[in-house]
Symmetry: C2
Subunit: 287 residues, 2 copies
């Protein structure tokens, strides 16, 4: 028999909890929403993400895992789950965890409002079906387009771009373009201004016909220098002086050409992307 | 006064609802979860996604928009929201919409279990903070690595890859690699087998040292031919015969070299990515 040390909770101590994200699908929704909910509490978590839990044997293994943690700590693990099969679901909810059905919790009030029975089997959040196959092809096409038009590689077919992102090296153009393509199926080209352009910086002639598709990114020179330093230590490219010059020039170009721009310093790729969509009135597709 | 035509609901008719996804952040969580919940009901939706709703004026505009739809249809729009400011939130919930707070609905039961007050201001799901800045740099590094190792461009530094994805052209390698990098911060290389490799197909010598990192993708020849046809119409590359040969050869190679592989025909990028993570025991980072 193993002697178990129970955690002593003291005032002001940050609580620790084990958390499970369990799904019969990718578990992406469970994970994202679970983190959103948990981030409101001053606790630290140890998390386990368990996707594709579709049969009883797997569910029983997980129940054992949850119960083992409970027995060792006497603290109920938190369980965020989304499972359609009631057989599989019942195994999870019969564990010693504190179980929250992330989708059903919202389905119940909606059911009353809509006045129809929910059909859980209709649902597969991040799945592929006949219904969305052509949409899905559009997503892959957007990724292809975006890769082919990354970093100014190609300036052909810019009429097919929904947005053309401009900025200096390492201000966030590539991740933003890829996120727009991946998450929203948007064909996003991007074009870099390099150190060589900085004398008498002008909008390239190839971009001028697409004025209404242009969107600029900028960033604080300090953050830019830190990012560039990771790439090329002690280079002119990464020097704060060079970063300041480039940012000053590029922001002047944006203003002169009436190009909407965003300072990315404190924003994530998700925030930059949705701000661009919002600002340009682009369609947010769902996949 | 405009005369309003009220919709007549008949038996078996699919109900139509207007849906709002409203957030003071990116609205990505509201959108994903709202779609997950709604997909369980046999209804068609017209949706409006409204991110960055952080002030009263914007909230009042949206309330008016919701109320206008209600007045025109006499059907309450469904509103999925996540807003921290109670001032802004109250404006939305005072609309004629049926409002569901996607995060708070789950916070309430958790609060009781955890025994602590939630602090909504802590929370910013897809945001950037001092706390996650180094993690965030790791994500950007993963995207850089993945782009530099897409489609066999570079076989250098493969020791830094967490996974090396193998497969024929257009089986899903690139979108999967990018998704792994973007969503989970995983450094994913990918390597294509081309038609020229098919005679006496062998695992390239450069990949052999990394046997334990290899993961294969395959696809039905019919779906592959359809995808390739979009790229190069009536080509040998897109012919069903060629697709069959390549898939047969590649699957034989995977089996011979004991490389785990997945048939992607019916899976989304999210599903393929999470199945790879699961199968290889990779860490799922959250951003």
């Amino acid at each position: 028999m193993i002697e178990i040390q129970l955690p002593q909770i003291q005032d002001n101590e940050i609580l620790e909890r084990s958390v499970f994200f369990i799904s019969d699908g990718t578990a992406i929704t469970a994970e994202v929403l679970g983190h959103a909910v948990l981030s409101q509490f001053p606790i630290t978590i140890t998390s386990y993400t368990l996707p594709f839990v579709t049969n009883k044997i797997r569910a029983e293994e997980i129940r054992n895992q949850i119960n083992t943690i409970y027995q060792a700590t006497q603290i109920r693990p938190l369980v965020f789950y989304s499972i359609i099969s009631s057989e599989v679901k019942n195994i999870i909810t019969s564990s010693k965890g504190f179980c929250l059905d992330i989708v059903q919790t919202l389905v119940a009030p909606l059911q009353q409002e809509i006045g129809l029975e929910p059909k859980p089997e209709l649902h597969r959040t991040h799945g592929l079906s006949e219904k969305n196959l052509s949409q899905y092809d559009a997503r892959i096409a957007a990724i292809d387009y975006t890769l082919a038009h990354d970093d100014g590689i190609s300036l052909r077919n810019l009429d097919q771009a929904q947005v053309i992102i401009l900025g200096v090296s390492r201000c966030g153009k590539t991740p933003t373009s890829l996120y727009l393509a991946m998450q929203f199926g948007i064909q996003a080209a991007n074009y870099p201004f390099t150190a060589d352009d900085m004398d008498n910086l002008q909008l390239p002639a190839d971009l001028k016909p697409f004025q209404q598709k242009l969107f600029g990114l900028t960033i604080s020179p300090e953050r830019l220098a830190a990012i560039r330093e990771e790439r090329r230590e002690n280079s002119r490219y990464a020097s704060l002086r060079q970063c300041r010059i480039e940012i000053t020039e590029v922001e002047a170009l944006f203003r002169k050409n009436k190009i909407n721009y965003l300072n990315t310093t404190n924003y994530s790729v998700e925030e930059i992307s949705t701000k661009i969509i919002d600002s340009m009135g682009l369609k947010r597709r769902m996949f």
